[in-house]
Structure formats: C-alpha cells, structure tokens
C-alpha cells in the first residue's frame, strides 16, 4: 500500500466504497421491488402492505441509484473524517500524516467486510438466512443503526498500529494513542451526525 501512488490509493478507496455501497443496497426495498418487477411485471411493484399503488420502473431505478449514492457519500464522509483526524494528529508531522492517510485507504476494506456482515445479520434477524425466498425485504436495520456499528469499530481498526506523531513517543503508549484518535474521530463525527438529513436518507436507502 505504501508504494501506491495517490491515484492508486483513490482507486482502492473508490472500489471498496462502491462495493460496500452496493452490498448495503441489497436489503433495501428497491432491490426487492426491482426483483418483483422482473419476476412478475411492473404492475406488481409495490410493497403492498397498505394496498399501495405500484411504483414505476423509473422510480425504482432512481431509488437504487440514490441508495448506492447515499451509502457511497456516507462512507466517503467516514473516510474524510479519518483524514481530518490524521490531519489534526499529525499537524507537525507530514510524513506521519501521509502514512495515516494511506492506512485509511487500506482500512477501507473494512467497509466491504462490515457491509457483508450487516447483510448477513439482517437476513439472520428476519429469519431469512435459511429462507432466501423471503429476503431481502422486511426487518432491515435502519441506515442509522448500520452506520453506527461501523463508526464504533472503524476508527479503532484504523488507528491501531499508527505511529505516534514525532519520534520521541514510546511504543507502550500506542493503546492510549489509538483510543485518543478514536475519541477525536467520534467527536468530529458527532458534529457530522447531527447535520445529516436522516429522514430522507433512511427513506431513500430503503
């Protein structure tokens, strides 16, 4: 990873983020509606609970695109907050900052692992893991709950193993250092979290 160019790093992050966003969209009602539309026709594309009129294929297409885009943006914000933390932590150590930033890119593989985990948990929660015919619609975790689970673990996973800023810090302090970076991440995220339009995001992520 350290040998990768900036462009290569951007590609790695983009790849992980988009794959994770696509996996996160699988349990959305958009995917289910698209499946119903393909299997049974556009006139059956309704979640049906309240005798709703069907949605159109265009709306389902837009919904799928919105869901993937929203997850991509949310994950890029997670990435951006990590960069901000690295920037603050390695303010006077640009070499350290570059290493921390590259490590964020490397850690973005956790986006994919986490997305797959939430998909499996979601299926297990609805008792559908062993009944694929019933998934994915139903008792999905809301976008907020899913993202929260990532936000708790991701900064710790990222910060583990980062070198202390400057060269005089002892290795034994790394645990505290990791926690400090995670706390800084959570503080910055608190600012982002309350500024996110959750109602629409949860609607459009399906």
């Amino acid at each position: 990873m350290n040998e990768l160019s900036s462009r290569g790093i951007a590609l790695v992050v983009a790849f992980h983020t988009i794959v994770a966003a696509c996996v996160l969209t699988i349990p959305s009602s958009w995917t289910w509606l698209a499946g119903v539309g393909i299997a049974r026709g556009a006139e059956h594309m309704t979640t049906g609970g309240l005798q709703l009129p069907p949605v159109t294929p265009t709306q389902v297409g837009i919904g799928l695109a919105l869901s993937i885009s929203i997850w991509t943006v949310l994950l890029l914000i997670v990435y951006g907050v990590c960069i901000c933390v690295a920037d603050l932590a390695y303010f006077r150590d640009r070499g350290g900052f570059r290493l921390a930033a590259r490590r964020v890119a490397w850690s973005s593989v956790w986006f994919v692992i986490w997305a797959v985990m939430t998909l499996l948990l979601n299926l297990e929660r609805g008792g559908k893991f062993i009944q694929p015919a019933r998934w994915p619609i139903g008792e999905t975790f809301e976008a907020r709950s899913r993202l929260l689970s990532l936000l708790i673990l991701f900064p710790i996973l990222w910060a583990v193993g980062l070198k202390p800023p400057g060269s005089d810090a002892r290795v034994s302090r790394r645990g505290i250092l990791t926690l400090s970076y995670a706390v800084l991440f959570w503080i910055l995220w608190a600012g982002v979290w309350r500024g996110i339009p959750w109602l629409s995001i949860e609607a459009y992520t399906g």
């Binding site: 009602s29 509606l33 309704t46 979640t47 049906g48 609970g49 309240l50 005798q51 709703l52 009129p53 069907p54 949605v55 709306q59 919904g63 920037d87 603050l88 303010f91 503080i187 910055l188 608190a190 600012g191 982002v192 979290w193 309350r194 500024g195 996110i196 339009p197 959750w198 109602l199 629409s200 949860e202 609607a203 459009y204």
Partner: protein
C-alpha cells in the same frame, strides 16, 4: 511552542515563517468550531431534510416518510394522549392538480388522522378509536391503523372536507359491510351527516357504497348499489338500491329508496337534527349506534324480519 524562523527569499525579501505555520492552525480551529457548532445546533438540517423528502410524495413505498416529516416539523403531534404513537402512516392523494397527504398516527386502537397540503398545513383532522381488534387486523396484509375510506375532498363546495369512515373489520374485498359514517370536517367541530349499518344476506349478497352525482344536480350523493362478480372476479355495480341525495338548501342527505332496504339501516342529519362533534372527540362505534337508535329506523335482519341485534 513557538518556532520563529526568518527566511530570505531569492528576491531578497525576509518573511516570517512562524506566521505561515500558525495561520493554518487557527484556520483548522475555526473550521473545527464551525463544524461542531453546525452539528450541535443542527443549522438548517431539518429544513434540508424536509426539502430532500419531497420526492417521497411521489413514490408510494416512501409515503410513510411524509408522516415522519409531518411529525418532525410539528404539523402533526406524534403522541396520542401524551404517549408516543407506535404507527406513523401516510397516503398521498391528488385532487384538482394539487396533492394532499392523509397522515395517521396511531397506537392501533386509537388514531388521529390529519389531512395536510403540500406545505404540511393542516386542512382537517379527526380522531377515531375502537376496542375491536379485528378493525385493525387484516388477514393477509397484517395490521392497518384506523383511518378513512374515501379520499377526502370538499364534496359539496361548503368549504369543508368530507370523508367516509368505516367501522367494519378490514377485509380485502371492497364490498360494504357494517357501520359507516360520513363526516364533514371542521376546524373546531365536525358534523356527522350520515351513518348507516349494512348487513347483507342471501337476498342481496354484496353491495358497494360510493359517492356519485346521481341526479345530475352537481352535488355528490351517497349511492348504495348491489354488486356482482364478473368471470374475472371483478366487482361490477348494478343499479342503485338506495341513494342518499344531497339537498343543497337544507345541507343534508335525503334518502331515496327504490328497492329492497332490509340490508341497511341509516340516519341522516336534517335541519332539525344536526350532530356536531368537537374536534378532539373520539369518533367510535358507540356514536354511530346512538345515531342509528335515534333514527328509529327498523332493525331488520338478513331474512327481513325485525330483531337483529349486534
């Protein structure tokens, strides 16, 4: 920790390097403060959220977000008698190039139904309750909160919205069965214009209750018609059995009975018998029963003999 370096540029100009380091630090602090202030006070977040949620009006599987926006914006109270409602449900309807949402907040046995325009202004609201669990439980589709049956609109150009409320257990078929009330919604009190109890039997197996201008006087009437099923199991209405025509002078429905009426008992308001209900009163089956009993219409059973009881 201060670091002061003086550097001589190629041009011979001396610059203070310390300043070039400290300014970004201040800038970072400033950005951090703006960031956290924005987060703590949620500046513009709700407004942005409500703007982004506009598309939900157009997509049926996102209608419930309209209810959430209505509650979040304060247009609709998300509580029933001080307790947080478990259900926030909405449906969107169109009328004369404008759209309105019917938002229901409910704890299943009690519902508060609000009619909102595109700008989340409340055009009318009413409250319903039931103690009958079958009223909110549908065999195939699960639970549905108590709400209205017809799209709400100003059917008689009286400046107030009108709708039909059903008190029958939910079933998939659209046939009418059980008690119904036709209500005109006011800002402070509602008026019950018509209530009925339909009990079909072997002679008339199924009827539909609908609204239509039966006598071409440009005012909507309530029409009860017998229905049959086609080969494709579609409901087809036959000629009306009973019509409740709107009398614009007296502002009430007048029954026009043309055929067999043993399947229905009803009460219509009249100039001497108006039924007003304060806006916060729960509209329930007891209220309908009281009016039906007041009407004194004969209580007939499926065989057409007196004495049916509920």
């Amino acid at each position: 920790m201060k670091r002061t370096h003086r550097k001589v540029e190629d041009t011979g100009q001396v610059i203070d390097v310390q300043r070039s380091i400290r300014w970004p630090a201040r800038l970072r602090l400033l950005l951090f403060m703006i960031w956290m202030t924005f987060g703590v006070f949620q500046l513009g977040t709700q407004s942005l959220d409500h703007r982004l949620a506009r598309w939900c009006w157009s997509v049926s599987n996102l209608w419930n977000t309209v209810a959430k926006v209505a509650v979040q914006s304060g247009a609709v109270d998300g509580h029933i008698d001080g307790e947080r409602a478990t259900v926030q449900h909405a449906s969107v309807h169109s009328l004369a190039n404008s759209r309105y949402a019917i938002v229901t907040v409910s704890d299943w046995q009690r519902s508060e139904i609000s009619i909102l325009d595109w700008d989340y202004r409340v055009m009318g609201r009413f409250r319903r309750r039931t103690e009958d669990a079958t009223m909110v439980k549908q065999k195939w589709r699960g639970f549905q909160p108590l709400t209205h049956l017809w799209p709400v609109y100003d059917a008689h150009s009286a400046g107030r919205l009108e709708t039909l409320i059903g008190f029958a257990p939910i079933h998939s078929a659209k046939v009418a069965l059980g008690r119904y009330a036709y209500v005109a919604l006011g800002s402070e009190q509602h008026e019950l214009l018509f209530v009925c109890d339909i009990d079909t039997g072997p002679r008339i197996p199924a009827v539909l209750i609908g609204i239509d201008d039966n006598n071409n006087d440009r005012y909507e009437d309530i029409v009860v018609q017998e229905v049959t099923k086609t080969d494709k199991r579609k409901m087809v209405g036959k000629k009306p059995l009973v019509v409740f025509e709107w009398d614009e002078m007296q502002k009430c429905f007048v029954p026009k009975v043309s055929q067999e009426t043993s399947f229905i008992r009803y009460w219509c308001s009249s100039p001497s018998d108006r039924e007003y209900v304060p806006i916060d009163t729960w509209i329930d089956k007891t209220m309908v029963d009281r009016l039906l009993n007041k009407a004194g219409t004969p209580v007939l059973n499926k065989a057409g003999t007196p004495g049916r009881s509920d």
